[in-house]
């Protein structure tokens, strides 16, 4: 730890916002998802009850995770499923590789899985001569562009249709200059159908793993996970340990929340329940820790493991919407990424808890009621305690702390500020030492303080 370079969110966001109309477009696209979520949630009278239930079920899971995992394994094995355990990303990749090599797999089709992104499975397999094709349309687009996802539900939300048209023209020989999403989707359908018909194995992520039944549930709109998993004898499902839910009936709660929180749909088009291998086939489930069990021990932060990856927090976040997924430097961006990553590597991700206005919009929509904004605030304190705080932030904050802790000092300082902001030349406020003033203007300064105004106007 500590050897990797820190993520500089502000610098990365700077690049993203250099094109203002594109930033506005991104903001509007992501906001649209949030608006649809609000409409979908409002149609369910018991919405808030469902959120409380989901949160309660997940609390129970965190307290009994070991037992549920053992129960899940036992039931899955009884179903004829082969269960594997991986402590970290490398061991996950080794396990998947050995299954694929045993079956002499040349072409693997993969549906969306943030876990395999987290583990960097694709480059690992490609280095061993196994072709990997991501089959979710958005994932395929970014794979062809040699990029990672910028959003966990809509991985290509940052890309314009003109760019998709060019990409498909270059790599799939579609018509030059095509921009019609219908046409471009059809091109991808034909391209991917050929991959499905010729693949040797399929790998999917997991939305929920049910301890009681030993099965996994995978949700997609395109049907790509199913086109792979049912096409060939060998199917592999990779999951983090926190994907466990106790009972079949709990699926009712989570499936009602997931798609509505993500896109406002009442449910994804396909909610597939994989229980047993197909006749003559093999079904493998790989259970991955990769830092999660350690995170479970952090009282203040363990709730982040309740995340069901709906993306509602990033859709609601004014910082994510205007800085883009890549500025976070991690597979899971946005508010949830900013509270997960410091647990993996505080020094590397120390900036992310500050990539927030602490407005709380994320916590207000989270379907499992994770206290994201509180955790962001608490991670900031951790960054300070561990002495990773950026020096300019530290100086400013310690002055602010001193002034704000004394009413007298505050009164004097605010009078001075009103005077200064009125008469100071612009370069004093707008300079390279004040990141806040980038792209922002100061409000006009009132002649009197609120305290004076209140005293005068109180009847």
């Amino acid at each position: 730890m500590g050897s990797q370079k820190s993520i500089n969110h502000a610098a990365a966001a700077d690049k993203f916002i250099a094109n203002e109309s594109r930033t506005d477009w991104h903001n509007a696209s992501v906001s649209y998802l949030r608006k649809k979520r609000d409409v979908g949630a409002a149609l369910v009278p018991e919405w808030e009850t469902l959120r409380s239930l989901a949160s309660g079920i997940k609390n129970n899971v965190l307290g009994n995770l070991d037992q549920y995992l053992e129960q899940f394994e036992k039931n899955a094995q009884a179903n004829g499923v082969q269960v594997h355990w991986a402590v970290d990303a490398e061991s996950h990749n080794r396990i998947v590789t050995s299954i694929l090599e045993r079956h002499k797999v040349k072409l693997l089709v993969k549906s969306k899985s943030m876990l395999t992104e987290e583990c960097h499975l694709n480059p690992h397999l490609e280095a061993r001569g196994i072709e990997v094709v991501d089959t979710d349309l958005g994932e395929r687009i970014i794979q062809m562009r040699d990029e990672g996802p910028s959003h966990i539900v809509a991985p290509a939300i940052h890309i314009k249709k003109e760019e998709v048209g060019e990409l498909f023209h270059d790599q799939l020989q579609s018509e030059a200059g095509a921009t019609d999403p219908q046409y471009l989707t059809e091109v991808a359908r034909q391209h991917l159908r050929e991959k499905f018909l010729n693949c040797d194995a399929a790998l999917t992520g997991v939305n929920f793993a049910v301890a009681e039944t030993g099965g996994v549930v995978v949700c997609t709109n395109e049907g790509n996970a199913d086109m792979g998993a049912h096409m060939v004898p060998l199917q592999i499902h990779c999951m983090g340990i926190e994907k466990i839910i106790p009972r079949q009936q709990d699926l009712g709660v989570f499936l009602r929340l997931l798609a509505r929180s993500a896109t406002g749909q009442p449910i994804t088009i396909y909610s597939s329940h994989h229980q047993k291998p197909k006749e003559g086939g093999e079904m493998h489930i790989v259970i991955v820790d990769n830092g999660r069990s350690k995170h479970l021990g952090r009282d203040t932060f363990r709730n982040a493991l309740k995340c069901i990856r709906c993306g509602a927090c990033m859709n609601s976040c004014p910082v994510y919407r205007r800085s883009g997924g890549y500025s976070y430097g991690y597979t899971v961006p946005g508010p949830i990424g900013s509270i997960l990553t410091p647990g993996f590597n505080l020094e590397k991700y120390k900036e992310l808890p500050f990539a927030s206005t602490l407005c709380g919009a994320c916590s207000a929509v989270c379907p499992t009621k994770i206290n994201i904004d509180e955790q962001l605030y608490k991670w900031r304190q951790k960054v300070y305690e561990e002495d990773y705080l950026d020096k300019t932030k530290e100086t400013g904050l310690s002055v602010a702390g001193n002034v704000l802790s004394s009413a007298k000092k505050y009164k004097r300082a605010s009078a001075l500020m009103r005077w200064a902001l009125k008469w100071m030349p612009r370069f004093m406020t707008h300079n390279r030492f004040n990141a806040w003033a980038k792209k922002r203007e100061l409000p006009e300064v009132p002649g009197e303080s609120f305290r004076d105004w209140y005293r005068k106007n109180r009847k």
Binding site: A86, K161, G252, L255
Partner: protein
Amino acid sequence: MESTDARKSILESIRKHRPESSDIPAIPDFESPMSNIVFGFGEVAAANGSKVVHIDDPDQLQEVIKANFPDIGPVYSLVDQIPSTFQLREGAAPVDHQGIDLAILHAELGVAENGAVWVSTESMNPRILPFICEHLVVLLEKSSIRSNMHEAYKEINLKNIGFGVFIAGPSKTADIEQSLVIGAQGARSHTICLL
């Protein structure tokens, strides 16, 4: 052996770090906001992009297919009233089902709140069928419609099946600039015949 050691160390690490256990909440029954769940199911299914057709008798299926798919190619049917015209070789693999224009199968349940139907290996083989076909028709009895997912799961026993899926409409995507496109990787259309 790597996996066995990993299992031990993951479970140990969880035991060391897990918080105190809390009770698992009981899931109550929720009343449907719909006054008529059959009507409501139809409305939501249509909003999802499904076509809903009402029939009084399974024999009317023939007419429905003729009217809605006049130029249809090879048909694969798991419903008595409609004959299959898709030719399959002995011991066919899932991949051999490529080329089915229309698949027709029984849906075991419908869910009013989200317009989804449940099909499982109890009534469907092979598993690839509802995904690989160009168009899908399901036959659903009105009496099999439940108000919400909680009620639907009460009727399902996952332990008894190999695979089961809620299908809520035609395959779709909005991955290019949020534009909704029907017919991504799976069936291009989804017709529900309500009996």
